[in-house]
């Protein structure tokens, strides 16, 4: 490794005659220093372009042309760890004439991505023959590179992807080239983080706009009933019974409108990141019993069986928020399964989801693993939810077919609007640093569960309380 302080700066700047032969060592160091200055300059210029990129496409293009021109190679490629299982996905390739950007599911590149994944990512390495063979010839003018160099793009402990350079001659890569590619990979990591932060902000804005649009739709339904029935009552004479039934519908829709607005305010606070958890040690078994007392009044308690496995830790959590989540899951189990059918609640010191159940939101969190310090699962014997509807039930106001969701025997008169309950539950669990999941098989019932870490992340405790009155 070159040591920059080995040579006085004044020697680098002097423009005197060539040094005598005995100064060969000094001269060599001067040359290396000049080369390093040029390299730094080039890295600086590429950094300007890389950081100026505002879209993924611009960033990929800037990175790959920097690899080609700085490292002086015939081919440059970029893989990003982006898919749901945390595997690198081929995103861009620079073959000489142009930069090709691929969608995440580009089929011909899967073999190449697999091969790249098989090479060690901890340090710069010359890639294996598998990687060379895996490269689609059509993308490289039919000529495979004979030497490949691959460096990881890392941010802290987080593997973000791979930057790959290839050349068509058998000359090995110099240490300068390895250093340059490493420098570019560092720039790539910072620029990718910046882009991800921008994407997250845009996603938050998009979610807020979508919520406004969906909410205005949902509010119009009860409003339609209120306006319609009240105008009918004002404009025509009807029997006392009809009057009473219309008035009870008006009342029902007013109540619904009220709770809809409360839920919307809750969700808006969560979406805007202004929510705060009031943390204290929570015993999950106590929490379950507390929630089940809500159903004790109408003789439903005997429907529930509670199974607490040994070793469940006390969690640092917001008890009132967890109560809200669990009450929602239990309420759904009660509403969407035949009257009196058994509902079981499991509490365990580990994740209760059975593979390959997807944990919602884990992919978005960069492929992190389930945080289970403990988990709770609520299982009903209702009609179950089809696979495609399982992810949708957590979306605001999602409606799934009443035939699939309803099991109460009320036919098409069963309530089909899910409202915001599950959406809010999911956000509350996410806010605790946990994840929600659902397992269901049409005809066999559904299990909704969540996994929580023993301590929520720090961000959850900053901000303003969700409902200042309730946390006192």
């Amino acid at each position: 490794m070159l040591r920059a302080n080995a040579v006085p700066v004044v020697a680098f700047r002097s423009q005197g005659p060539p040094p005598p032969a005995q100064d060969g060592q000094l001269w060599r160091e001067r040359i290396e220093l000049v080369a390093m200055a040029a390299r730094t300059q080039a890295l600086y210029q590429s950094a300007v372009q890389v950081f100026a990129a505002c879209t993924p496409e611009e960033l990929y293009g800037a990175l790959l042309s920097a690899v080609r021109s700085l490292v002086r190679v015939d081919l440059a490629a970029l893989f990003l760890v982006r898919d749901k299982d945390g595997r690198p996905v081929y995103r861009a390739l620079h073959t000489g004439r142009s930069t090709l950007i691929f969608c995440a599911d580009e089929a011909p590149t899967a073999a190449f991505a697999d091969a790249a994944l098989a090479t060690p990512t901890r340090s710069a390495v010359a890639a294996s023959d598998t990687l060379l063979r895996g490269l689609p010839p059509s993308l490289n003018g039919g000529r495979c590179p004979t030497k490949l160099l691959s460096v990881p793009i890392r941010s802290g402990k987080d593997d973000m992807g791979l930057l790959v350079a290839g050349r068509r001659t058998a000359v090995p890569f110099s240490s300068d080239q390895v250093d340059l590619l490493r420098g570019l990979a560092d720039q790539a990591a910072v620029a990718l983080e910046k882009l991800r932060a921008m994407e997250a902000a845009a996603e938050q804005g998009r979610r807020a706009r979508e919520l406004v649009s969906v909410a205005s739709h949902e509010l119009r339904t009860p409003l339609t009933a209120l306006q319609g029935f009240s105008e009918l009552l004002l404009s025509q004479e009807v029997s006392r019974d009809v009057q009473k039934s219309w008035l009870s519908l008006i009342n029902q829709e007013s109540v619904r409108l009220g709770s809809l607005i409360t839920e919307l305010l809750d969700l808006t606070r969560l979406e805007s990141g202004r929510a705060r958890l009031s943390l204290r040690p929570v015993d999950l078994e106590d929490l379950v019993e507390h929630v089940l007392r809500l159903w004790a009044g109408n003789g439903q308690r005997s429907r529930f069986s509670v199974n607490v496995q040994p070793g469940v830790p006390r969690l640092k959590a917001d008890a009132s928020k967890l109560t809200q989540v669990l009450a929602n899951l239990v309420g759904n189990a009660v509403n969407y399964s035949p009257p009196g059918s058994p509902i079981s609640i499991d509490v365990a010191p580990r994740c209760l989801a059975r593979p390959p159940t997807k944990h919602l939101g884990l992919a978005a969190a960069g492929g992190a693993s389930c945080p289970a310090g403990a988990s709770i699962a609520v299982r009903d014997r209702g009609a179950g939810i089809s696979r495609e509807d399982q992810a949708r039930v957590f979306q605001p106001f999602c409606r799934v077919a009443s035939q699939q969701r309803g099991g109460s025997g009320a036919g098409t008169d069963a309530p089909t609007g899910e409202g915001l309950g599950l959406t809010i539950a999911q956000r509350l669990i996410e806010w605790h640093g946990g994840v929600m999941w659902v397992e269901s098989c049409p005809g066999k019932g559904s299990t909704f569960g969540f996994c929580l870490p023993t301590h929520p992340p720090n961000r959850s405790t900053s901000g303003t309380p969700l409902d200042p009155g309730a946390t006192a």
């Binding site: 339904t221 009933a225 319609g228 105008e231 009918l232 009443s402 089909t416």
Partner: protein, 125 residues
């Protein structure tokens, strides 16, 4: 006696529309989603269809397109009952072949007048 098919996943809205339209000249039949609507429309040949947009299983746009592509039902007027106010939704309603759009919330008098005009040969939107 004219038959109106009311399609909405909200039982309250179906009850409301029936309360508005049922009378000596009209009777209403109900469906809770697009799939059921198509099935009932084929069997009962209604004179007009009032179709909600956001529904489980099959949305109103799809149901409307399906009816308009069906030889038997193509000439039956379809009015979309929509809570989606934005212009793109109106555009989608036209593209789906709907004959008209009724905006939620609506006044009973407006709904009755709109349905009457279509039963008496109303014009397309």
């Amino acid at each position: 006696m004219k038959t109106i098919l009311v399609v909405d996943d909200e039982p309250t809205i179906r009850t409301l529309v029936s309360a508005i339209l049922d009378g000596p000249e009209m009777r209403t039949i109900e469906a809770a989603d697009g799939v059921e609507a198509i099935d009932i429309a084929r069997r009962h040949r209604p004179d007009l269809v009032l179709l909600d947009v956001v529904m489980p299983r099959m949305d109103g746009f799809t149901a409307c397109r399906t009816m308009k592509a069906d030889g038997v039902m193509a000439r039956t007027p379809v009015l979309l009952l929509t809570a989606l106010a934005q212009e793109p939704e109106q555009q989608r309603a036209r593209l789906a072949g709907a004959d008209g759009v009724v905006q939620k919330p609506f006044s009973p008098a407006t709904l009755r007048a709109t349905v009457d005009s279509f039963l008496n040969g109303g014009s397309k939107v």
